[in-house]
Amino acid sequence: MKLTSATVHALQLPFVEAFRHSASERTFSDSVIVCLRDDAGQEGFGEGVPRPYVTGETQDVVLDHLARNLLPPLLGRDLADIDALEDADRMIPSVAISGTRSDNASRCAVELALLDLSFKRQTASLAKVLPATSSRVRYSGVITSGSHEKALATARQMRVVGFRHIKVKVGYPDDVERMTALRALFGPNVSMRVDANGAWTEHRALEVLSSLAPLNIEVAEQPLPHGDLDAWARLKSKSPIPLMADESLVTIEDARHLIDKNATDFFNLRISKNGGLARTVALARLGRAHGIRLQIGAQVGETAILSAAGRHLAAYLDGVEFVEGSYGSLLLTEDVTREQVRFGHKGEAGLLTAPGLGITVLEERLRKYATRSIEVKA
């Protein structure tokens, strides 16, 4: 079967409410969706979420890169049945974009579309190459920044839902008071962690983490900005709370540097940030081989397409300690699939078993929220 055409949609899909953290505020999703088609009329969908402060990609950059560099060489080519996860990644051309750290969000959108298309054609689930090691996935609740009262109100909602894992966005003058109030609200049996999105200095990070230690905080994500791994290593050697690399972990080279410098305890793996499923699994394997613990993160505002890929990955990787994402219509005013992919009570969700990614994307929804759509033909 030949790949015949592709459509790229730049979305502006509004949130239910604004999402804030120390590095950004968002009120809508700016995902880029790729729809690939073959000559039998089968479609596959993929998604990338550009983050200028992470990979350097913007929505415009991704659109242009897909339409000029990544998709045209694929169109007209035969798509053999994929039987190893890495097959799709190998098909995607390696083309650097000047001024960016990587083109990972762009590659992710193409890789997922190839995988979805190939496995739909085989009437097989993506689980064929990512076999599940667990029957359910347990997601974390995330408390964004905002007023102290707003954080407590969100925490009460999460308590009603019954989340067992909570992440709190920090990086503000009241971090310790806020975490103390939240620990009191959740009680001792809920696992809590913090994410500073690189907002702290080395001195401030050590000060806050030392103060937070009695609150039984499991891990501090991206305490320092991306870049100075010596500072990360110093902080890791002194911090009473384990550290997690997120914005500092985009490529396999980043992972090697973090390992070489003994700069982190955890990797936060995100499929879009890390360039698709195959590259994310490679990062997980490298980390595991060096005793690094794992979280599967998500992109704020991701649609059910990335959430579905995240579900397969989380079910596949054994021993992942925390999983994020699958907020679906709890964050998006409307998701793009027929099925509801979001988690339920306690943040838990079952496996997706339908062919491909296991979802049915509604093209009319993509068109409803697309600010630009580009057709690419062979």
Binding site: Q12, P14, F15, V16, E17, A18, T27, F28, A153, R156, Q157, R159, V160, V161, G162, T333, E334, Q340, R342, F343, G344, H345, K346, A349, K368
Partner: protein, 234 residues
Amino acid sequence: MALRPYMEGLYQKHTDDLVGCAEFVALESGQVSRAGYDRFLENVIRTHLKSPQLLAFLFALAPPRAAERLRHNMLEELGLDQESGASHPSLLRVLATEAGLGSVLTQLEAGAAQDLKKMVEEPLLFGTLKEVGFSALVEICAFEFMLSRVAGRMARALAAHRGLSARAIEWFTHHSEVDVGHAEQGFENLDAYADYYSLAEEDARTLAGMALRDNVFIKRYFGELPLARARSLL
């Protein structure tokens, strides 16, 4: 429990946001095309066609203190109450026919059925039916509160600017009258429900806030994009 001050504030805020949104202002002032009025009518019909089933669900969970009131509401929706006359879905069908939307009625019925199916199939966020039922009660009471205050304005706008007859807009005029009583009873039902099922006041408020995170009136009557614009999210 005395949830009324909190709930009334929440409902009033949502109602104010509805009547203040650009689409409602245009609807009332006649600045909408015929197709725009028709989209509004279709959305109203689709939103409320399955109301009797939702009330039946609430009746099934009703605490003793609220059971008679909810039974009465349900029978009235079904047109089976002694004084109620036609069922509310039949008034919506009359509205569709009189407005010249009879050809899309089947599609609207299917859409309403699909909405209900989706609601039933969604993963539950809560551990028991008591939270699910309370959330549903919060939303139904919200519509009764809003309609008791706004349905008359909608009816006048539709008569003046869309040329609909009194018979056509009976669903609106009916709700502008009966929902005054329903809205009052709604506050009592919420308290009765929370008391009977031992919902802590803080949890009841939290559930209410979750049920009404979106402005359901703007979302259902005008759509997701107008809602996002009204909330400055786009």
